[in-house]
Amino acid sequence: MKEIIKITFALTISCVIAASAMGLTYTATAKAKKHNHHMNVQNAMMGLLGFGGDNPAPSDLKFLSVHRYIVEDGDKKFLGYMVPVEKGSEEAYEMVLIDLEGNFAEKLEVPVSAEKAEEAHDRAAALQKVLAPPKIFTYADSSVIATAGGKRLGYVLPGKFPGFRTFIHALVAMDPKFELLGLEVMEHEEDAGLGKEIEQEYFKNQFKGKSFEKLKTLEVIKKPLPMDYKKYLEKSKWEEGMFTEEHIAEIRKQYKDQDIYAITASTISSKAVTEGVKNVAKKFAYRIGKLDSVLKKQEIHAAF
């Protein structure tokens, strides 16, 4: 009995020491880790918008986030958009509440700095001040609007949709006319060698250039990917002189309205991604339409 107590004590002490050592390291590295994640997302967004390499981004390129919240007031429900607005030279934020029919309900100024607005925790604290109980707000998602020279370049939307095992996190980019600019898979746990292929260029680049009309009816087909199309999709493997301008235009035209070719033996993952992208894009197009019309009617000068 004495022995057991001794062992238990020794193990507990060791575990506590080990845990504190790990905790300290975690705290010390958390900032760098967050920075890495941020850079990853930034780079992915740049890539999706077609910048990088020999096509540098314009110097006034800005990524403006619109944070969407679901706001409940008693039994009434609203969609709340936290929008960056132009107010002199400073950036300010306004919470625009829209009811479920898409009509303007209320606008509230959110006292938060640009830096703090990007932090989920600080943002919630600032919102708490203007949306006091009985109003309850729940965070939904943040979409990014890329602008340069006062014009919208495109939208980058976060996509989270169920894959084969668990959620797939992706970024979907669209131009102002809702044509798909591309897809980037950020995190997933699909099977290696099968569903993991969704990361590959030959799959994700198939979404590039799909019009909004086509996107609405986009489907997955179980046919082998044609060789020339595959070579065209794998941009990083292009060799000099492999594709002439005419050749590219021809392939683009031929496959523009083509459905998505499924990954061999991973139809579920292929379908999950396609449906996910479709959903994200369609919902966003609807929402941004409503939001834009409200902003225009209420004469709210959003920064985008």
Binding site: A10, S14, N40
Partner: protein
């Protein structure tokens, strides 16, 4: 005991040569086969192992008089796991690119036979200074082994060293594949033994 008579330098050299973890003790073979496809991988994983080995050896050596003999293996595992988590977090935060390539193997260091074995054989009996040098020797020995394998496999498999094109062509793609790891490890082991035998024979003559 023989160990006690060894000086610090001897401990260090022994770990690299006559007790090399990969070529002599044949421990921790899975990473040796799995990740030694390039020199860079060898250096990175070698550094991680060196760090974990030295830190764990020192920790265990420091508390060696307080470890309950019945729970010494759990204590070793806990120590190793802690240091592995530390290096895992640090690598993830400061060298994300390399971490992406070898993240899984870093976590696997917890189960590396070589580290537990050194703690059980050496660190739990010897003072901190000696344990430190033993850990250094073993860690460096592992790193040398990994880098040697990396050089052979990268050169023969992809014609490159550290990502620079040396040969200009790819001699044998086979060496990059996992199964080639066994062949290279086997051949290197034979080579090391052959050198040792030849050296000893010359000494006798």
């Amino acid at each position: 005991m023989a160990i006690k008579e060894k000086t610090n330098t001897q401990l260090l050299v022994d770990g690299i040569l006559s007790e090399n973890p990969i070529f002599k003790l044949a421990l921790s073979m899975c990473p040796a086969v799995g990740i030694s496809t390039s020199v860079m991988n060898g250096i990175l994983l070698g550094t991680a192992v060196l760090f974990v080995q030295v830190c764990s050896s020192c920790t265990i050596s420091l508390v060696r008089n307080y470890i309950h003999p019945k729970i010494r293996i759990p204590t070793y595992t806990l120590t190793i796991a802690t240091w592995v988590t530390v290096i895992d977090l640090v690598l993830a935060a400061y060298v994300p690119v390399a971490y992406k390539a070898m993240g899984l193997f870093v976590r696997l260091i917890v189960a590396f036979a070589i580290i537990t074995m050194r703690l059980e054989m050496f660190a739990c009996r010897e003072p901190v200074g000696k344990s430190f040098w033993d850990g250094m020797g073993m860690g460096l020995g592992f790193m040398v082994g990994m880098v040697t394998l990396g050089v052979v496999r990268e050169l023969l498999g992809s014609g490159m060293i550290l990502g620079y094109d040396v040969l200009g062509f790819k001699p044998l793609l086979f060496f990059i594949l996992p199964s080639a790891g066994f062949f290279v490890v086997g051949l290197m082991m034979g080579f090391f033994n052959w050198i040792e035998v030849a050296y000893n024979r010359r000494k006798e003559v």
